[in-house]
């Protein structure tokens, strides 16, 4: 007669198509929000998906309803002092309308005025790169060391003090005290009434008083908190792959790099960052900007400062190598290096660059170089070209001429089944 079905392990994405429909409907707003996020948010903040606000009008579902006016009666509970004929000012906010069901969807109204909803990172990226689908990128065999993560799972009667849920505990304690003292209080009251009578024998009075004292003591000795009252947050373990990666962003900031080129580089770096972050529990970024000298900077400086002068790429490579040796030993870290440049370099720097790359690439999971701007045989490109052959598995280079190229190039770089 009865079926019990455990559906918990069924897909939870029953609403995903409906959600897609909703997003299609408010597409313009989402794009706006995403564009704004790209220009405003800090880079390591970009990956967390986003919030989209949609004006009520865009997604209203009107129904025929009553307007305010006419003569409406309301039946209300909890009368305390009113008598028939009492008059009072019309309470604001509910004037004339029907308290509950006047306007179409008044229940939802307050939420609909500022309807905001979360879009996931994947969706966010879809919009960020103009509707391109984020493909199934790379299947990777990561070194999976799992360390458990804790997640809330209801309440329990045992636990360590820092997990105490004060509200629930006190509510239970109060309930217990009320329950346990009710009877005592009744008896105390009865005794007190009895004692107020005058015609008591001394003997009897003493007895009653003793009894009263005993009860009062019992009442006051009732503990405020007892072991049984305690409620703790219950935590369960869920597996959590703990792996860490560091990403080096190398960019030429010499005078020849325009802001538009930097924006392209930024998007490329961003994609790589988001990608890595998804694969690894913890991802750090190191920004290295260089002209003739290299320095480690924060992301603001990295993307928005402009320097003049020439370019010596090896300085940046050397700094990267130093930082890896000092802070990110390659046996503990998955190291990714992404270099973006317009391809200029001092002519006599090329040999040194090649040397450094030979040292650097074996330490890295992957070294990518993107050249931004019109593709002509630039010095750096020709320096790197032979390396791509020798270090094929861990080294790749592409050129990007416009924003549209970024995603395909990225996809191309990471989708060839390389062992990262």
């Amino acid at each position: 007669m009865l079926h019990i079905i455990d559906r918990r392990f069924n897909s939870t994405n029953k609403s995903s198509v409906n959600r897609q429909r909703l997003m299609k409907r408010v597409q313009a707003r989402i794009k706006e929000a995403v564009e704004e996020a790209v220009s405003k948010r800090a880079m390591d903040d970009l990956g967390r998906g986003g919030e989209v606000s949609v004006p009520k009008a865009d997604i209203s579902e009107p129904v025929f309803g009553h307007g305010s006016g006419g003569q409406v009666t309301h039946v209300l509970p909890g009368n305390k002092q009113f008598k028939v004929g009492d008059k009072m000012m019309r309470p604001s906010g509910r004037g004339g309308g029907d308290g509950g069901a006047g306007h179409g969807a008044s229940d939802d109204a307050q939420y609909e005025n500022e309807f905001t909803f979360q879009i996931t990172r994947a969706e966010y990226l879809d919009y960020l790169f103009d509707g391109l689908e984020l493909p199934y990128l790379v299947k990777k065999d990561l070194s999976k060391q799992e360390s458990p993560k804790y997640r809330n799972a209801g309440f329990t009667s045992q636990g360590s003090p820092e997990k105490l849920n004060v509200l629930r505990t006190l509510a239970r304690a109060r309930g217990r005290r009320i329950a346990l003292t009710a009877n005592l209080k009744k008896r105390i009251l009865a005794l007190q009434l009895q004692l107020e009578q005058d015609e008591l024998e001394v003997e009897e009075r003493l007895q009653l008083e003793a009894e009263l004292q005993r009860l009062l003591k019992r009442k006051s000795s009732l503990p405020f908190l007892e072991e049984v009252d305690l409620r703790f947050h219950n935590l369960t373990q869920v597996p959590n792959p703990a792996t860490s990666a560091v990403m080096f962003c190398l960019m030429d900031v010499s005078g020849s790099m325009t802001q538009a080129m930097k924006d392209m580089a930024k998007r490329y770096f961003l994609l790589l960052y988001l990608f890595l972050e998804r694969q690894y529990g913890k991802t750090e970024i190191v920004f290295i900007s260089h002209h003739t000298q290299a320095q480690e900077v924060d992301d603001q400086t990295f993307f928005y400062s402009r320097e003049s002068g020439g370019t010596i790429v090896s300085s940046a490579l050397q700094l990267t190598l130093d930082i890896i040796q000092q802070r990110y030993p390659s046996h503990n870290w998955n190291i990714y290096v992404a270099q973006a440049s317009d391809g200029d370099n001092w002519a006599d720097d090329s040999e040194r660059c090649q040397q450094l790359i030979h040292q650097l690439v074996p330490l890295c999971q992957y070294f990518t170089y993107v050249e931004i701007g019109k593709h002509t045989e630039k010095p750096l490109w020709s320096d790197y070209a032979p390396l791509a052959v020798t270090h094929g598995d861990h080294f790749a280079m592409r050129s990007i001429t416009s924003v549209k190229d970024i995603y395909p190039v990225f996809h191309d770089l990471f989708s060839r089944g390389k062992t990262l």
Binding site: I5, D6, V17, R21, F64, V75, G96, G102, Y111, Q118
Partner: protein, 491 residues
């Protein structure tokens, strides 16, 4: 799971002893996310795709995740077998409560109440929704998602006016639907063609001229039905879409009119069942205490001046009345004998069963709201008249006020109070094909501000001008709304 099963068996036995007649039960244990899904599709296990469900999903999720609302402990579907969703995080006491409440309380109500018996078909709804989902997917394939969405949007807007309010509609079945659907397309189109034939045949001319004066011959309250059958512009598949929305509207029609009764009935029975479980020693005192805790929270009624007040709690009102009926049967006072001469002293199970089967909220309150419940809830009436600059109290919970409170509270649950009464009254068959709707005002309440927008949706489905006349109490046209000749729908 085995524990749930054991409790279910015991509850089933007790419910049976109490004479509850139920559909067989299907319990589905689900997670919070899945409950939000269930909210989004208004409680139907399957439905076609539409953005509004996505919106509902996002709104529920945002409110749930920000802590502004909790999710229901359960959700129950009027189907056979009766499907009940239980939240995984419920404690055992809660799960047992939910089984008693939903699987036996609501379940027996669905099976017994006349509204549900006449307007819904529990055994066919899941099948029908499967058909609807398939059909709409197929339409989307053939005509494009946008095209279908546009029709659905307009239909959803008119959903509350897509029900035969006075006539029992025919039953549903997936197989038959599919079979009939093709025939219907042809037949329906022929009928429409006939109606809109621009060159009437000579021998029919007299008849048609007559028809021109009055079509439809009787006012029609089911706007979607009227549009499905008579719209001059809809394609056959669009008519089928209108029909699908209409059928769903009809399925939900009894629910919104029996909220108080349905919840009251379920609460009454979960209470009775728990008392019985405890009396038979099947649950411990602690279990019972937790039950009381939940039970009293569900039945909490805040006073009108409490900031948290959001209307009369249907659980409270329903439970109070159901319990009161039993009290009147078992231990009537003089007052009860005067107010309920037939009820006082009768067999409570029979009387309660009769009340459950034959009423909806409006009539139930009008019939059974007793002075005691009015006193307990301290009900009073506030009159809000737009012509006065103050509101005033017209009745309170005293001898003079009982009748008035009862009548007014009942009318708060009438459909004409919650939804404007709109009917199709005329179509200009030979003229500009203008569709005329009439709104009969109740208590002088006008139409809402969005009425012109609403007419765009009617226009969308009708294809020609639409006029809505709002009539005051004397039947005079008070205000007229017109849809512009070609007005695109916003958004």
């Amino acid at each position: 799971m085995p524990l749930l099963q054991r409790f279910e068996n015991e509850i089933g036995r007790i419910a049976n002893d109490f004479g509850l007649d139920c559909y067989s039960n299907q319990l589905e244990v689900i997670s919070a996310e899945q409950m939000i899904d269930a909210y989004a599709s208004v409680g139907l296990p399957i439905s076609y795709f539409h953005w509004s469900y996505g919106k509902q999903f996002e709104m529920t999720r945002a409110r749930y995740e920000s802590g502004k609302m909790g999710l229901a402990y359960e959700m129950v579907i009027n189907s056979s077998p009766c499907i009940a969703y239980l939240m995984e995080e419920n404690t055992m006491a809660m799960q047992v409560l939910v089984i008693a409440h939903a699987c036996y309380g609501h379940n027996s109500f669905f099976k017994g109440n006349y509204m549900f018996r006449e307007w819904t078909d529990a055994s066919a709804i899941v099948d029908y929704m499967a058909f609807a989902k398939d059909y709409i997917l197929q339409c989307e394939g053939q005509h494009g998602v946008d095209e279908v969405e546009q029709v659905l949007d307009s239909c959803h807007a008119l959903m509350s006016h897509g029900v035969n309010r006075y006539v029992r509609p025919p039953a549903l079945s997936k197989a038959e639907e599919k079979l009939r659907q093709k025939d219907r397309e042809v037949a329906l189109q022929n009928q429409v063609n006939h109606l809109w034939a621009t060159i009437p045949q000579a021998n029919e001319e007299d008849e048609l001229e007559q028809a021109e004066i009055k079509f439809p011959t009787e006012p029609e309250e089911n706007l979607l039905y009227f549009i499905e059958k008579n719209s001059p512009i809809l394609e056959p598949w669009q008519r089928e879409v209108v029909r699908i929305v209409r059928k769903i509207a009809q399925y939900f029609y009894p629910q919104k009119q029996t909220k108080v009764m349905n919840e009251g009935w379920a609460c009454f029975w979960h209470y009775s069942i728990f008392t019985e479980l405890h009396a038979q020693g099947l649950i411990s005192d602690g279990f019972m205490l937790e039950f009381f805790d939940i039970h009293s929270r569900v039945l909490r009624q805040t006073d009108f001046n409490n900031p948290a007040y959001s209307g009369i709690n249907p659980y409270t009102l329903g439970y109070a009345m159901m319990t009161d009926i039993r009290r009147i049967c078992e231990a009537p006072t003089e007052e009860d004998k005067q107010w309920f001469p037939d009820l006082a002293g009768s067999d409570w199970q029979q009387s309660l069963d009769f009340a459950m089967r034959n009423f909806k909220d409006e009539s139930f309150i009008l019939q059974y709201l007793s002075p005691k419940v009015i006193r307990d809830l301290k009900l009073f009436i506030v009159v809000d008249d737009e012509h006065l600059d103050h509101v005033w109290v017209s009745a309170i919970h005293d001898e003079q006020g009982y009748q008035q409170v009862r009548a007014d509270l009942a009318s708060e649950y009438s459909l004409s109070r919650t939804e404007p009464n709109i009917q199709v009254t005329n179509v200009a068959l030979r003229g500009d094909r203008c569709l005329t709707l009439q709104h009969a005002q109740v208590d002088g309440r006008p139409m809402a501000d969005n009425t012109s927008d609403m007419l765009k949706h009617v226009h969308q489905l009708w294809g020609f001008k639409v006029v809505l006349q709002s009539l005051d109490v004397d039947g005079e046209v008070n205000k007229t709304y017109t849809s512009a000749e070609s007005s695109p729908i916003d958004g």
